[in-house]
């Protein structure tokens, strides 16, 4: 059974100039497959690289759009007329929507390697100069992002951070140097970026990003670059970008693995399309707990910077709808296809999240309670008390529940090392009648070990408050901290 398909003007060169042709099939999908088999030139204009009908191709059965019927499974009956009807769309680039400034002679010299590439050129460089990019975080990811964007000539670079530079940052946060330890990260970043390119307007925001300030902070910017290290802020950045319609050049790092994508672009998926719910608190360790290879944020951050520049210039194929996973040990990049979820609570067709929410609560994290002034002497012991009791000769069993590589860095004399994960199987090494003091780096893991031991019937288990870091601060400053 042959069915008539009406061909729109722009596709007629592929159907021997005919405005209607015949094809066979029982459904719209079969008909179109037969049509493109007969007229191969039609295929790239009707289907995308993934074999899906392009979004601006509309197919009508008689006068009904197949989107409201059974899509490509819509059955075709005798005498039906199929029409292919274009939606015609276009417009300027998403990212920068303002008048483009001219380049000075000095800038032409500085950016000459950009200017000689037709994909950038003078107009592209002027777009970069007009562009405003906001970097969330001046840490591992934020360092290469801000440095490369400043060097590339992005006109306005905003940075949000409220931290100070610590020695443990220097292994990867190349915005900051050894003399900057103790300074605010923003002051240090500003100096470094001004040295790279004094023509860039550096705007610093010394504040914690929150549901109260995010929309106002993001508003003036064209592209947001997410260099955060925790889930509440990640969801906050995502939702704020979607609500404001701003693209989010996303990156994250852990140990040897990195991820990157562009979320929140028009028609593109967002972080919640990928992860509708955050993981339970504590399941995914942070870099402070699990470590990170120092070069890794260099790789991932430069990908984010590259994507920001592509969005500004409107060139190439941005990482929209694609999720890049980088494995540094195997030196492999994998790519996952991401689809916009029509049921996404933020960017779907019927969003339920229409304003920013409490992200700490959403991620199951209780707001940090104020530090109790007194220590519960039944379950906790302070470093000073522990030292006094050891000096008195009290018989205490000291258990370090950190990992062996942490134990190598510093230790309390006389401890036995049983990493948290090994506690259940090595419980036989501990006598339930002994008074036991457990410790870790900061007190979190050892609290879990203490709870476990008490549940197993150990009566006298004390957790060292503040872990070995507090021990070093208060008792033994000769040891290194990490």
């Amino acid at each position: 059974m042959a069915t008539r398909i009406l061909i729109p003007t722009p596709l007629r060169p592929y159907t021997d100039k005919k405005d209607a042709v015949d094809a066979e099939g029982r459904t719209v999908g079969e008909l179109l497959a037969d049509l493109t088999a007969r007229h191969a030139g039609l295929k790239p204009h009707l289907y995308n690289e993934q074999g899906k009908l392009r979004s601006f191709v509309n197919v009508y059965v008689n006068d009904e759009d197949i989107r409201y019927l059974q899509k490509e499974q819509t059955p075709v009956a005798d005498g039906d007329t199929i029409s292919i009807i274009p939606s015609v769309a276009g417009g300027v680039e998403a990212a920068v929507d303002r008048e483009l400034p001219a380049l000075t002679n000095e800038e032409i010299k500085r950016y000459s390697r950009h200017l000689i590439m037709p994909e950038v050129g003078v107009d592209g460089q002027r777009k970069l100069k007009a562009a405003k990019v906001l970097c969330i975080g001046a840490g591992g990811l934020g360092s290469p992002v801000a440095m490369y964007l400043a060097a590339a000539g992005v006109g306005t670079l905003g940075i949000v951070d409220f931290d100070t530079v610590d020695f443990s940052n220097l292994q990867r946060q190349i915005l900051h140097g050894t003399p900057d330890v103790g300074r605010s990260k923003l002051a240090s970043a500003k100096d470094r970026l001004n040295a790279i390119n004094p023509g860039v307007d550096i705007q610093t925001y010394e504040t914690a990003l929150s549901s109260q300030n995010a929309l106002k902070l993001f508003e003036p910017y064209d592209v947001i670059v997410d260099g955060t290290d925790n889930f509440p802020t990640r969801y906050l950045v995502n939702d704020a970008c979607v609500l404001l319609g701003k693209p989010n050049a996303y990156g994250s790092i852990f140990r040897f693995e990195g991820q990157a994508s562009v979320f929140g672009a028009p028609n593109g998926p967002c972080y919640r399309c990928l992860y509708p719910e955050p993981p339970p608190p504590g399941l995914v360790p942070s870099c402070a707990e699990g470590g990170v290879l120092g070069v890794l944020p260099g790789v991932v951050g430069t990908i984010q910077a590259m994507e920001a520049i592509k969005l500004i210039l409107g060139i190439g194929e941005p990482l929209i709808g694609r999720f890049l996973i980088f494995d540094a040990l195997r030196m492999k990049f994998r790519e996952l296809r991401l689809r916009k979820d029509p049921d996404c609570p933020v960017c779907g067709t019927h969003p339920t999240v229409r304003h920013l929410i409490d992200y700490e609560q959403f991620c199951g994290i209780r707001p940090a309670a104020p530090e109790p002034a007194t220590v519960n002497s039944a379950t906790d012991i302070t470093a000073v008390e522990l030292k006094q009791r050891l000096d008195r000769g009290d018989k205490l069993k000291l258990v370090d529940v950190r990992e062996p590589n942490e134990y190598q860095i510093c230790r309390i004399p006389g401890t036995v090392l049983i990493p948290l994960g090994d506690v259940p199987k090595r419980i036989g090494e501990l006598d339930p009648n002994d008074e036991i003091v457990v410790h870790c780096k900061m007190g979190g893991r050892s609290a879990k070990a203490a709870d476990f031991l008490r549940a197993q019937g150990y009566k006298k288990v004390l957790n060292l408050k503040g872990g070995i870091l507090d021990w070093i601060d208060k008792v033994d400053p000769s040891q290194p901290k990490y």
Binding site: P10, L11, V88, G90, G91, E93
Partner: protein
């Protein structure tokens, strides 16, 4: 540069520029009707994008059908579409490329601070990888001509 060319009659070019100025700072869009590469009439269309008309335009399927019908009524064929780029150069964007149709002439007029400036024409390459800039010829320079207006009205 493509060897393809399109000719805009003076009235058509003025109509496209005027439409861009009228909708500034939003984008305008419309269909171009004519024959043998000469655009003799425009069909201004509503911009129905939901993404913000400052930087996007969308012609609905129903308006596309209207444009083809109007082309038939005017005794011509649909040659392509025009749209404006408010405060942006008259060059196609990646977004234009992603949504382009073959064969059609895409005329872009840049409207800078409310004044129509550069105008150019683009054709999609057959492999969809990019646009070729076509030659835009300014036909019918005589402002007293009535033939183009007669078709246009």
């Amino acid at each position: 540069m493509s060897n393809r060319a399109v000719t805009l009659t003076r009235d058509v070019e003025l109509a496209i520029r005027a439409h861009g100025v009228e909708t500034y700072p939003h984008e305008c869009c419309g269909a171009m009707v004519g024959r043998d590469g000469v655009v003799t009439a425009t069909v201004p269309l509503p911009n129905t994008t939901e993404e913000g008309p400052r930087r996007r335009f969308l012609v609905r399927p129903s308006d596309y059908r209207l444009a083809e019908r109007r082309a038939g009524e005017l005794g011509g064929e649909l040659l392509g579409f025009y749209h404006s780029h408010p405060d942006h150069p008259a060059r196609p964007s990646q977004y234009d490329l992603d949504h382009a149709w073959p064969t059609f002439a895409y005329v872009i007029v840049s409207v800078v601070r409310g004044q129509a400036s550069d105008i150019s024409v683009w054709f999609l390459k057959d492999d969809r990888t990019s646009f070729d800039e076509g030659t835009l010829q300014h036909g019918d320079q005589n402002p007293d001509s009535h033939t183009a207006q007669a078709v246009h009205r």
